[in-house]
């Protein structure tokens, strides 16, 4: 990528932010020994935006999300959630985040109701509001009928919903969802997608969603960020990215090949 293109990517990214940014990422890096999982990643997401986090497997999506949520400390760079630094003001920042990791963090022996209540306590939902918050989360995720069954008995789709319910129970400003539809059947995918769509439409939540299903991004997101080998290679509103009738798949393929050629050329030059 040339410097000019890099500048264009960043300016178009910043242009889409509406209102004060709730997710601010500056110069984020993560190194595991010699391996750079994420390199110099910067972006910001405004309140109420729904952003699709795209990229092939191993591009650094999960690592980035883990750094955003404070699970893994960054090697370098700054993450601010709702104005609070994830490192130095961890408690405040974490209170503002709802996080659904790649595999939902469930206790199989608990019931959805008991589990979501436990998470509500962890996330500091005030005692007086806790019961309402739990009921609301269970209702929104369609878990009313199964809320007293054991989680281990539930289907994968329902477990994913329980994972979503725990992410939204404290009404977080930011929702970070790591591949929320992976491993589900087409009907379950539609249900989860509709659920995320509802959450997006209800406002209040800023959603960062990782996936490699492009149709999912087209269905839910307003903006895409494309990662490759730990670097940001595209950051555009969906309407701009697909302007001129190009499908997201074509855009994706074009950017990726350009990057491949670019890095090959850079490698050749260095050699």
């Amino acid at each position: 990528m040339t410097e000019a293109e890099r500048g264009k990517v960043e300016s178009s990214g910043a242009g889409t932010a509406t209102g004060a940014p709730v997710i601010e990422v500056e110069g984020l890096c993560k190194r595991y020994g010699d391996f750079e999982a994420v390199r110099d990643l910067s972006f910001s997401v405004g309140a109420g935006e729904v952003v699709g986090f795209l990229g092939p497997n191993g591009a650094g999506k999960t690592t980035t999300m883990r750094m955003l949520t404070g699970f893994v400390p960054a090697t370098d760079g700054i993450v601010r959630i709702a104005g609070a630094d994830i490192f130095s003001q961890g408690m405040e920042a974490r209170r503002a985040i709802g996080y659904l990791p790649e595999s939902p963090p469930l206790y199989p022996e608990m019931s959805p109701a008991g589990y979501v209540d436990f998470v509500a306590r962890l996330k500091d939902v005030p005692r007086g509001e806790r019961k309402d918050a739990v009921d609301r989360a269970l209702d929104r995720c369609g878990l009313r009928d199964v809320c007293h069954r054991e989680i281990r008995q539930l289907s994968k789709g329902y477990r994913q919903r329980v994972g979503l319910a725990q992410a939204i129970v404290h009404e977080p400003k930011v929702l970070v969802l790591d591949e929320p539809t992976v491993g589900l059947d087409p009907i379950q995918i539609r249900e989860i997608r509709a659920l995320i769509g509802d959450l997006a439409a209800s406002g209040g939540h800023t959603i960062l969603l990782s996936t490699h299903i492009l149709a999912e991004v087209e269905a839910i997101c307003q903006r895409v960020i494309l990662l490759q080998r730990g670097r940001k290679v595209l950051d555009q509103p969906l309407s701009e990215a697909t302007a001129g009738g190009a499908s997201l798949e074509e855009v994706f393929a074009r950017v990726m090949t350009r990057e491949e050629i670019g890095s090959a050329a850079a490698g050749g030059a260095a050699a």
């Binding site: 595991y32 883990r66 949520t69 404070g70 699970f71 893994v72 400390p73 961890g90 408690m91 405040e92 974490r94 209170r95 985040i97 996080y99 990791p101 595999s103 939902p104 963090p105 469930l106 206790y107 199989p108 022996e109 608990m110 008991g114 436990f118 998470v119 306590r121 962890l122 996330k123 500091d124 725990q166």
Partner: protein, 266 residues
């Protein structure tokens, strides 16, 4: 620290619906019953023998605390070494294996709260175990007159040593995501600090230049739980022993916290 009870009560509830808890409690009860019965029969036979030989002064010296309750609680303490690791093995390792560690570490709670919560849940469980043991000496109060203070002191010793062992279990459970490894590690650590340290002193220092009475030997002996438990079983509640249990638990909990914290940086 308000999340400690949240973590602890969830853990306790999960423990008490797991089959492991019931296997352990059943074994514990059966073994306690058997040992108690055996000690009771032994006590009775000794009494009959002494009566046959007309050794009145020895009969006078016999009492329920010295000859029944103390050895009974002492042997239950040994059984604890084998059963407790089964309870503590999953405390933190299962959070890692389940992926729920990611939930805990991205929630607005401190690692200390997680560690204390787990410790407290373990203490809740060993309190039930101590309660089961307490049931048997309680029977004696219906038929004889054991000393209340000494009996309670013995039970307190069992509870405190169990709590200390729970902290060892929390630590072993924090270093791995594999429950079996956590079990074995806890068992080995408990054997070492519970029983083997005094022997290690004898073996390594008796012939060497340091000698049995050196400061090092004394320190290693102090580190073993054995002597502290034995004194409390005799009814001697010494602040020094209480401090020992507090320090030992504190050290292992601090280690657990450090392990959990440093694992994130890898």
């Amino acid at each position: 620290m308000k999340h400690v009870s949240t973590i602890a009560s969830r853990e306790l509830r999960s423990l008490f619906i797991s089959p492991v808890a019931y296997v352990v409690l059943t074994l514990w009860s059966v073994i306690a019953g058997t040992f108690f019965l055996a000690s009771l029969i032994g006590f009775q036979e000794q009494l009959i023998q002494l009566q046959q030989y007309q050794m009145l002064d020895r009969i006078q010296a016999m009492n329920l605390n010295d000859d029944l309750i103390e050895p009974f609680i002492g042997s239950m303490w040994v059984i604890l070494l084998f059963l407790l690791p089964a309870i503590t093995m999953g405390l933190i390792s299962s959070e890692k294996a389940n992926g729920t560690e990611e939930l805990l570490l991205t929630s607005p709670i401190s690692i200390w709260e997680i560690v204390f919560g787990k410790f407290l849940a373990g203490i809740g469980f060993v309190a039930v175990m101590t309660g089961i043991v307490a049931f048997f000496p309680a029977i004696l109060f219906m038929y004889g007159e054991p000393e209340v203070g000494r009996t309670l002191s013995g039970l307190l010793a069992l509870l405190l040593v169990s709590a200390t062992y729970v902290s060892v279990g929390v630590f072993a459970s924090s270093v791995t995501r594999n429950q079996l490894i956590a079990f074995v590690l806890t068992f080995v650590l408990l054997l070492i600090i519970g029983m083997m340290l005094p022997f290690l002193v004898e073996i390594t220092m008796a012939g060497g230049g340091l000698g049995r009475e050196s400061a090092v030997a004394e320190t290693v002996r102090w580190m073993s739980t054995g002597s502290h438990v034995e004194r409390m079983l005799k009814g001697l509640i010494d602040t020094a022993d209480l401090v020992y249990f507090a320090v030992a638990s504190g050290v292992f909990l601090l280690l657990s916290k450090t392990v959990i914290e440093s694992a994130r940086w890898r």
